[in-house]
């Protein structure tokens, strides 16, 4: 396994400056808890730091996911994340997708429905990858696999760089 990274020379982009969150000091504790765009950006900022399984760069730096690629409808409790694998034949696409799903599962309230997909045209086996990422039985089975779970946890480990 020493030889052959799938994408040995990825293009690395600058991290985008995040918008600051305006938190009112006199927030009403009894207000209905809803998730707004900024809050999703906060969660997003957490998972933008997910590391590419192959590289020390975060998914944001590789433009695998951008803020624009996250669609939220809090009223419908719905999130869709669209990510762009670095190369068309990226075999890590399902792992990256699994990491995104796990991160959202652990961060969002359980009422949320989450769809994960690769950007249209960005992957050679787009339909197959999307189908696998959204089959919850396969996801559940994958997360019972200790090796896969270790890999996911490693990808989700915060980078303190």
């Amino acid at each position: 396994m020493v030889s052959g990274l799938i994408n040995a020379n990825p293009v690395v982009y600058q991290k985008k400056e995040r918008r600051a969150r305006n938190t009112p000091c006199d927030s009403d504790e009894y207000a209905v808890e809803s998730i707004d765009q900024l809050e999703i950006f906060d969660i997003l900022s957490l998972f933008l730091d997910i590391k590419d399984p192959e590289h020390p760069y975060s998914l944001e730096e590789l433009k695998v996911i951008t803020e624009d690629a996250v669609e939220v409808d809090d009223g419908l409790s719905y999130v869709r994340v669209t990510f762009t694998p670095t190369v068309e034949h990226c075999s890590m696409a399902t792992i990256i997708g699994l990491c995104l799903r796990v991160k959202l599962m652990r961060s969002l309230p359980s009422r949320y429905k989450v769809d994960i997909r690769v950007a249209p045209g960005s992957h050679a086996t787009e339909a197959a990858v999307n189908k696998q990422l959204n089959d919850k039985e396969r996801v559940a089975a994958a997360l019972e696999n200790p090796n896969l779970l270790d890999m996911v946890d490693e990808c989700l480990a915060p980078s303190y760089s």
């Binding site: 359980s110 009422r111 429905k113 189908k131 039985e137 089975a141 019972e144």
Partner: protein, 350 residues
């Protein structure tokens, strides 16, 4: 109960907690709910356990009578009672199927069936209880013969599906096996006279109006001449066969698509169950349960179905399984990612 004449709703009569992870599936013991025997069902979960629930004859409340644990080492995905209710089969992601014997409320694991390469997704008994079928992510369906002394012998390994097999189900009266898959198809399997040699006799796929994504489950009507399947393509499909031909010498008659129910659920439909009195219940990832009945209008050549009732927010997360009870009083049980099981009664809207 004249279903089309009145309006009905599902009334929640119990919410059962105990599982510590998502509940994948449940199965009513077919030998209960009649002759004064209290209703019993089993539920299985991502918490690796199976729970046995019984309704108290006096109070009507539900109690967990047993927890079957420390046998399966991974998610228990599916469970099924033998027709006489004496044996419970449980299928697990740990690639084994366990057989539990029920002796007066105690459950003992009497056999473990090994052979599949990886996760088993479903297990089902045939109508006489002489055969058991299992299916797996390894793309195969296995048929096991039940021998004396808690012995199970694999009589056939059916290959044909090109992806995970999600569910197996036997025809209610004939030894015909149905399997549905991640490859978007339903396959029908028949054995020879000795039930030793099995082969695929029909594949229901997109070319004959079948599903365009994963088929998660299927169920038969009481007479066995109609079948409903549900899918990730957000539709339910009704299939029919010729009942007289089915029971003829040939023992098989092809199934044809007659009706597609679309525009109801808006996320994956995981479970469908046809009640003995003709109500189709469906449970989906949109957290809702829907009930459908066949239109009785004369002069319509092809069958059509209408929505009888929709229960939004039946659970707070995905509904994974819906099952009608046996017995005099028909109840519906549903199992969910929210870790609960709910029991529903169909009542007229007053």
């Amino acid at each position: 109960m004249e279903l089309l004449d009145g309006r009905f709703e599902l009334k929640e009569i119990a919410k059962l907690e105990g599982h510590t992870d998502r509940v994948w599936s449940l199965a009513w013991n077919p030998a209960t709910g009649v002759g004064g025997i209290p209703l019993v069902f089993a539920s299985c979960s991502g918490d690796k356990t199976v729970r046995i629930w019984e309704q108290s004859p006096s109070s009507g409340s539900w109690n967990c009578k047993a927890v079957l644990e420390e046998t399966h080492t991974r998610t228990v995905r599916s469970c099924a009672w033998s027709p006489n209710g004496k044996l419970l089969a449980t299928a697990s992601f740990d690639a084994t199927t366990a057989i539990w014997e029920n002796t007066g409320g105690d459950y003992e694991c009497v056999s473990t069936l090994e052979g599949h390469e990886n996760e088993i997704k479903s297990v089902a008994w045939n109508a006489s209880g002489s055969l058991l079928a299992t299916c797996s992510r390894d793309r195969t369906v296995w048929i096991w013969e039940v021998l004396p002394g808690n012995e199970y012998e694999c009589v056939s390994v059916l290959q044909g599906h090109t992806q995970d097999v999600k569910m197996v189900q036997w025809h209610p009266t004939m030894d015909l096996l149905f399997s549905c898959s991640y490859d978007n198809t339903v396959k029908v399997w028949a054995g020879d006279d000795d039930n030793d040699d099995w082969h695929c006799v029909q594949t229901l796929d997109e070319s004959n109006n079948g599903h365009s994504s994963t088929v998660w489950a299927l169920s038969f009507n009481a007479t066995g001449d109609k079948m409903v399947s549900c899918s990730d393509d957000l539709t339910l499909k009704i299939w029919e066969t010729d009942e007289t031909k089915l029971h003829s010498e040939a023992g098989y008659s092809p199934w044809r698509h007659t009706c597609t129910l679309s525009g109801y659920h808006d996320r994956t439909i995981f479970s469908v169950h046809w009640s003995r009195n003709g109500i189709i219940a469906s449970g989906a990832a949109d957290d809702a349960i829907r009930l459908f009945v066949e239109n009785q209008e004369k002069g319509i050549d092809r069958s059509s179905f209408q929505l009888l009732f929709k229960k939004e927010k039946a659970h707070s997360m995905d509904v994974n399984s819906v099952q009608w009870s046996p017995g005099e009083k028909v109840l519906l049980a549903s199992a969910s990612d929210d870790g609960t099981i709910r029991i529903w009664e169909l009542v007229p809207i007053s």
